[in-house]
């Protein structure tokens, strides 16, 4: 059965010693990276302060395709997708996701390498029905798209 569980190179036998192995294998934390986590934006408790932490007020740009569900089955996991048409908006270097009504609206920032696609998929927590923002930085300017996602009570209500 071992070959069947070789997912992404992690066999069962390797998994058994995985935790110990990790501390040795992964010693390349943030310090050696050239970019930095925008701490002010992450610490912000309101959408305006969070945007200020990213560098200002973005303008709406149609080259940003921001996909979120209109209605989410559960706020704990809301799938999002951000795609930028690089012909219409070139040189995108950063992509950010913000959730307006979360205690800390800043959810994630992605630094995009110069010669790659601008395409990000992830899942975020959405505390209540509100607007989600996709903000991108290109040539030092900020652009955005926003979408409302409804968060519903799916179960027995208790």
């Amino acid at each position: 059965m071992n070959e069947q569980t070789q997912l992404a190179g992690i066999s069962r036998r390797r998994f058994l010693g995985w935790t110990a192995l990790l501390s040795a294998a992964v010693s390349l934390p943030a310090r050696v990276w050239a970019w930095a986590r925008p701490e002010a934006a992450f610490a912000a408790t309101g959408i305006d302060t969070a945007l200020a932490g990213l560098g200002g007020t973005p303008t709406v740009h149609d080259a940003i395709q921001f996909t979120t569900p209109d209605i989410a089955e559960n706020g704990a996991v809301v799938p999002i997708r951000i795609e930028v048409d690089s012909a219409a908006l070139p040189n995108v270097s950063k992509v950010s996701v913000l959730v307006e009504m979360n205690p800390n609206p800043m959810a994630a920032v992605f630094d995009i390498a110069p010669d790659t696609e601008v395409y990000i998929e992830t899942r975020v927590k959405v505390a209540q029905t509100c607007n989600l923002y996709a903000v991108v930085e290109a040539d030092g300017a900020l652009y955005m798209q926003s979408r409302e996602t409804k968060v519903t009570l799916g179960g027995c209500g208790g």
Partner: protein, 262 residues
């Protein structure tokens, strides 16, 4: 058998119970990736790990198909075991093996069988998840041969319709009609084969609301909590009886667990 890319190619799909398609877009975006894949690995590792005073693994555990046979075993539960002279669900059978083979203490094992808020999973949850994955694609075929197995079905049916508590709720209150929902949650009609098969076959399941895999034993406990009933004991006659009722109604369906649910 665990399929290498099962988490990416749609085998762990959401159930298609009726909720008027309101979450189709959400589920489309979610895709088929199911974090239960991690829990399957964890359960498999735990099965082979020597534990307890006897430093034994669970490889000698008889889940009904012979010692150490895991493939397809989940799909045959609940079933009668001669060595205990009772009908057992998979969770109580695993606890039995942990006591008998590994020499572990029952009260300690029962202290926290299911995850609480903030946990990433328990040993029992992981083992059940792996064993369910070992029955993926298997036909649901609970034993109904021994008189005790048939009696369990009858008891399960009786309890299913039993109304009690301050809200007068029974299992049937929510689960004897088709195409109904509570809030936006589709409710399976567990008296009917199709819904019973889809439901029984998709537990244990990763619950995205909790970030955890939950088992059928937990599911029943939580139903009774919401029914305003007292606490259901793991492996109790009522728990095993209701699982038998569902499994027999589901018989002939296919195991798809671990599922992915809200």
């Amino acid at each position: 058998m665990i399929k290498k890319w099962a988490w990416l190619i749609g085998i762990l799909a959401m159930p298609a119970l009726s909720d008027d398609g309101i979450f189709d877009e959400y589920r489309d975006l979610m895709g088929d990736d199911n974090p239960a894949i991690f829990v399957i690995d964890e359960g498999e590792a735990l099965w082979f790990e020597p534990q307890g005073p006897r430093s034994a693994s669970l490889e000698g555990c008889d889940l009904g198909l012979g010692r150490g046979v895991t493939a397809g075993a989940y799909a045959r539960f609940p079933r009668y075991f001669e060595d205990t002279d009772t009908v057992m669900d998979i969770e109580s059978r695993l606890l039995h093996c942990m006591q008998q083979l590994q020499g572990r203490d029952r009260d300690t094992l029962l202290a926290k069988p299911y995850s609480l808020r903030g946990d990433m999973g328990t040993e029992l949850e992981a083992l059940v998840t792996w064993l369910a994955a070992e029955s993926e694609g298997a036909v649901i075929a609970p034993e109904q041969v021994h008189p005790a197995e048939r009696a369990m079905y009858a008891l399960g049916e009786e309890v299913f319709f039993y109304r009690a508590g301050p809200h007068d709720f029974s299992c049937a209150t929510c689960h004897e009609q088709s195409d109904m929902r509570i809030r936006l949650q589709a409710l399976p009609n567990l008296t009917e084969h199709q819904d019973a098969a889809e439901t029984f076959g998709s537990w244990p399941a990763y619950r995205i609301s909790e970030g955890l895999v939950r088992t059928m034993g937990w599911r029943l406990q939580d139903c009774f909590r919401q029914q305003r009933w007292p606490g259901l004991k793991l492996g109790s006659e009522v728990s095993v009886a209701l699982q038998t009722y569902m499994a027999v109604n589901a018989a002939g369906g296919v195991m798809t667990a671990p599922g992915l649910k809200r």
